[in-house]
Symmetry: C2
Subunit: 347 residues, 2 copies
């Protein structure tokens, strides 16, 4: 699954009308292994990415049409936004068909699969799981590298970002890593992975284990697994726990934020120490995996509030805490590196 040589993709990013909130497009620009030739959004045509979204770290021109995009010699068109109402609007369909006619690869993170819609095109439906995912076997217990997994007090809390920032901190320290992507944006960023929530339930843990076995082949110092959902999110907790047990994690990084918004349907976010304790207890049924650090998302706070929150979380949990965006993921990486690999629970 890990491409031996990262394919030399050069993306035109299709984000018509919604570049500013296009999560997959932003992820690719900020963290992606591949080149970005240009972004297509007619509402922003003529501007540049960093003018519109300065935190994306990488610039690219924004153009208004596919025809203009072709001038930047892309190899692939990324459909990185979800269509309103769930169905492809006619004007998007036309752009995608034109891209296919121009022999671009179509890369899509949509729930709706595009391969059947564009049977003549080369399509990579990122959410489509491999056909041969096996059941969890326990083989993952024996992987050589240390495995760290991000988990959260809620979903959509920045687990992917934390994972990628820890990877960046590791790269700066010459610690070799493999990032195991489990959601569509992570997969587009890294060029491989399995969208675990698209796998049939019986195979969630098997998919997570396959990712770790695959990541281990490159013999990195550290495997960083992107977490999904939350143990306390009633809609997604099954995916979260399947990933926790299936990844055979040696340690966990708990992602938290300042919000006290409900998770959904009135269900509250658990307090950080309670979440940490429960993740550890549930993990230990299969394999001990201590929470070694808290990654704090301080979005929306001023610098003073952010610092206070990080200090409070560290105090409440007795763990190193850091905001990897506003600060650095180095303290989290340190905590991961000094934690020994664990063995599976054995009778």
């Amino acid at each position: 699954m890990i491409p031996d040589h990262v394919p030399e993709r050069r993306y035109a990013v299709f984000a018509e009308g919604r570049f500013e909130s296009a999560k997959t497009a932003h992820g690719l620009l900020r963290y992606g292994r591949d080149e970005v030739a240009c972004v297509i959004d007619s509402t922003l045509a003529g501007r540049k990415v960093l003018e519109v979204a300065p935190d994306l770290r990488r610039d690219a021109p924004i153009v208004g049409t596919l025809e203009e995009a072709l001038a930047y010699s892309p190899t692939s068109l990324l459909v990185g936004i979800a269509p309103p109402g769930g169905r492809l609007p006619e004007e998007w369909r036309r752009s995608i068909a034109e891209a296919a006619e121009a022999r671009l690869e179509i890369v899509s993170g949509l729930h709706q699969r595009l391969a059947p819609e564009f049977p003549e095109a080369r399509v990579w439906d990122v959410r489509e799981p491999p056909e041969d995912v096996p059941l969890f076997s326990g083989e993952g217990f024996a992987v050589g590298p240390k495995v760290a997994l991000t988990v959260g007090t809620s979903s959509a809390i920045g687990k992917m970002t934390a994972t990628l920032e820890i990877e960046r901190a590791a790269r700066e320290r010459s610690v070799s890593t493999a990032f195991a992507a489990t959601g569509q944006t992570g997969i587009v960023i890294s060029g491989w992975g399995i969208c675990v929530d698209a796998v049939v339930s019986d195979f969630i843990a098997g998919a997570a284990e396959q990712l770790v076995l695959e990541a281990a082949k490159a013999e990195p110092d550290l495997i960083l697994v992107e977490g999904q959902g939350s143990l306390g999110h009633p809609a997604y907790s099954g995916v979260t726990l399947g990933l926790l047990h299936g990844s055979c994690a040696d340690c966990l990084i708990l992602c938290a934020d300042a919000s006290d918004e409900e998770i959904m349907a009135g269900v509250p976010r658990p307090a950080v120490p309670r979440a940490a304790r429960l993740y550890e207890e549930v993990a230990a049924l299969v394999k001990p995996a201590p929470v070694v650090a808290v990654s704090v998302n301080t979005r929306g706070l001023d610098d003073h509030e952010a610092k206070d929150l990080v200090a409070r979380v560290s105090d409440e949990t007795g763990l190193p805490a850091a905001d990897p965006i506003r600060g650095s993921a180095a303290p989290i990486l340190d905590a991961v590196l000094r934690t020994p690999k664990t063995s599976a629970t054995r009778r």
Copy 2:
């Protein structure tokens, strides 16, 4: 999903060469709502079900061929055993095709779907989930009847049997119940349900919630949800937790046994009190659901050992414990009935 009138199925049970270990066939005979006309197993032809398996509570003739089976006027052929090697053997295929030609409905609990194999036949692939399972919404928090879910210290520990025995005890007490089946045998027994481990991961909890909403329509006193897997089974824990949160259970019945065999790959069974505590803690992230009783599977023990085990489990946990097969599920039902309905965790 609950048939308004239970369809008047009259099954010929296809169990060629393996009736004695055919779990789905046994479940249907022991607990099924529908009639069983006969069993097909040429290795036992001429004998009767209760001679071969006296604990099945219901007799039926065993015949050697489909042709003989047709003399008993079945409406449906149940394929209740899995083919060796995963592919349908040619002689099974011939029997199923003959049944289809005789206009029998084909009912299959196989992983492999039979509808595409026999396009002319009426086929009910029991494991095939509905196409329109929604995400979990929280609507299940508001169902009127009390919801009880069976959970286990391991998988394959008798959760379905415990659930059905509690239902039987309730029937004897004129407590109205709805059994929500979540696996193929339970679905064949009750004539409806969703095989939750066959649903795409994102929709496990949504499927569990739909089952409870559907079961509530009949306004029973009690909804009994068949559990799956175990919180400590690394291959299936995701399904277990999705079902726990998605079913919006008010209380749990923990299923345990005498075994100290590993769950898989060296992972030990958790002690009963530890399992009880963890199920409660993880449930309470979303909605409190106390473990109100332990259902003890004493298979393989003598009467004295069985009594000791039940007493020890009750003592260790401080909960009512009973073996619903060797004894009665009445003490478990009592515990369920005296437990109040809980409210969802709210902030």
